[in-house]
Symmetry: C2
Subunit: 234 residues, 2 copies
C-alpha cells in the first residue's frame, strides 16, 4: 500500500490495476493486456530511467510466475544497472495464489511441494511433462498453475495422467478458481475424477501426496506429528 | 488482523505471539515453545470445543510447514468434525517465508520450483535425499527450509552435494536469514560456495535452476520472454 501511494506512475495488467485503484487515486496508470508482460516491463523501465517512481503491479506474489523476473530480464538485456549502483528496485512479496488456494482447501501444502505451470508458451511441453513425472515420483504435493486456457485444452488431462502413473486414483485433489475474488469456486475431488473439474487460467489445481487425506470439507497433507507422537498422545 | 481482533484467546509459539501483540491487547494468550506444535493444536482444539473463538498464530503462511495441518490432523484423530457440520474453521493465508526471501533476492522463483524441508525429525533422511535428487533432475528451483539446527549439522552440506550432481558449481544460490525481521541477512553466492554460508533454522536457501543468473546484487530465474521474443524486441 505504501509503495502504491508513494509511486508517481503505476504499470500493470488492467485487472490488477483495477484491484489496486483505491491506492492509486489521481495517479497516472498505464494498463496493458494479459499477454503483454514484456511491453509492461519496457514501459516501467523507460519511465524509471526517465526519473519517475514507478510501481509495477502484479497479482498474488510478484515473484511467482509474475512480473518481477521480466523486469530483471529486460534490465539485464538492456545493460541497465539495478540496485545500490544504479536504479533502485524493490520487490514487495505478497500472498501467492497457491497459498490463497491452499488456505481455502484446508492445509494441502503442509509437506514438501512443487509449483509447476502447464503453460507451454515459453517452456516446451516435453520439459513440463518431465518435471511432472519427477515431481510425482518425489512424493511432492504438486500445484498446477495455468492448467488450461482458450488455446490449450489437452495439457491438463495429460498432466493428471502423468502424475497418475505414480499416485493412486483416490489421491485428494483440490481445485480452486478465483481465490478471494468474485466467482470463487472451491472443490475437493480425487485424481481419478479431477479431469472432470471445471478449470481455466484462473484455476489452481493441487494434487496431494500419498498421505494427503480429506476431513469434512477439507484437504490436508499431514506433517506427521500423530504418526510420530501418536502413541504418546492417545 | 480482523481475526486476531475478533478472537477470545490466541495460542502460538511465543515469538509469533509477541509479533502479533498489538492486535491482542487485553486478550488471553497461551504460548508454548518451538517444538510443541501438537500441544498448541490440542489446547486450541479444546478451547474451541469449549465454545471459545480461538486464533492459532503461525509465522509466514500457516499452511506451509506450519500449524494449519497439525490442527486438522488432530481433529481427525479425535473425531472432531470441522466445517459446515461442526466446528467452524478458517485458514487465513499469509506471505510464506519463501516468498519473503525471494523478494529480497530479486526474482529467483519465477519458474517452476519446489520447497523441501531438510528437517528429518518427522521424515526419514533417505526420503528427503530422494526428493532433492529428483527435484534437481527436474530443473526445479529448490527452496530449502530448515537447513540446519543445533542438533542437525551435516544435512545441509549433504543436500548441496546431492543437488550438485545435477547442477553446475556456478549455479546462483540465495541465502536469506530472518527475512523482514531484526537481524535480516541476504547473500547471493554459488552452489560451489554455498556450504560456507551462515545458515540456521531461520534461514531459507534458494538454489537456482540451470538458467538462473545474477544481475547486480540480485538473483533471477528467467521466465524466458527474452529468449522467445528477443529477436523481435532488439
Amino acid at each position: 500500500m505504501a509503495a502504491l501511494e508513494d509511486c508517481q506512475v503505476a504499470v500493470g495488467y488492467k485487472v490488477y490495476l483495477a484491484q489496486a485503484q483505491r491506492w492509486l487515486e489521481g495517479k497516472r496508470t498505464i494498463s496493458r493486456g494479459m499477454t503483454q508482460e514484456l511491453e509492461r516491463a519496457e514501459l516501467a523501465l523507460e519511465l524509471a530511467l526517465a526519473g519517475e517512481r514507478v510501481a509495477v503491479v502484479s497479482g498474488g506474489d510478484p515473484g511467482i510466475y509474475a512480473m518481477a523476473a521480466v523486469v530483471f530480464e529486460l534490465a539485464r538485456s538492456r545493460g541497465v544497472t539495478l540496485g545500490a549502483e544504479g536504479l533502485a528496485v524493490e520487490v514487495i512479496p505478497g500472498v501467492p495464489a497457491v497459498a490463497a488456494a491452499a488456505a481455502l482447501l484446508g492445509a494441502p501444502l503442509s509437506h514438501d511441494f512443487a509449483c509447476i505451470s502447464l503453460s507451454d508458451r515459453l517452456t516446451p511441453w516435453e520439459e513440463i511433462e518431465r518435471r511432472l513425472e519427477l515431481a510425482a515420483r518425489a512424493e511432492l504435493v504438486i500445484a498446477l498453475y495455468n492448467p488450461k486456457s482458450r488455446g490449450r485444452s489437452w495439457q491438463y488431462g495429460r498432466a493428471l495422467e502423468v502424475i497418475g502413473r505414480h499416485r493412486a486414483g483416490e489421491t485428494p485433489v483440490g481445485v480452486v478458481s478465483r481465490a478471494g475474488r468474485e466467482g470463487q469456486r472451491v472443490e475437493v475431488t480425487t485424481l481419478a475424477q479431477a479431469g472432470r473439474a471445471e478449470v481455466d487460467m484462473q484455476t489452481l489445481v493441487i494434487v496431494g501426496n500419498s498421505r494427503s487425506f480429506t476431513w469434512g470439507d477439507f484437504m490436508v497433507t499431514p506433517r506427521g506429528y500423530l504418526d510420530k507422537y501418536g502413541g504418546k498422545e492417545d
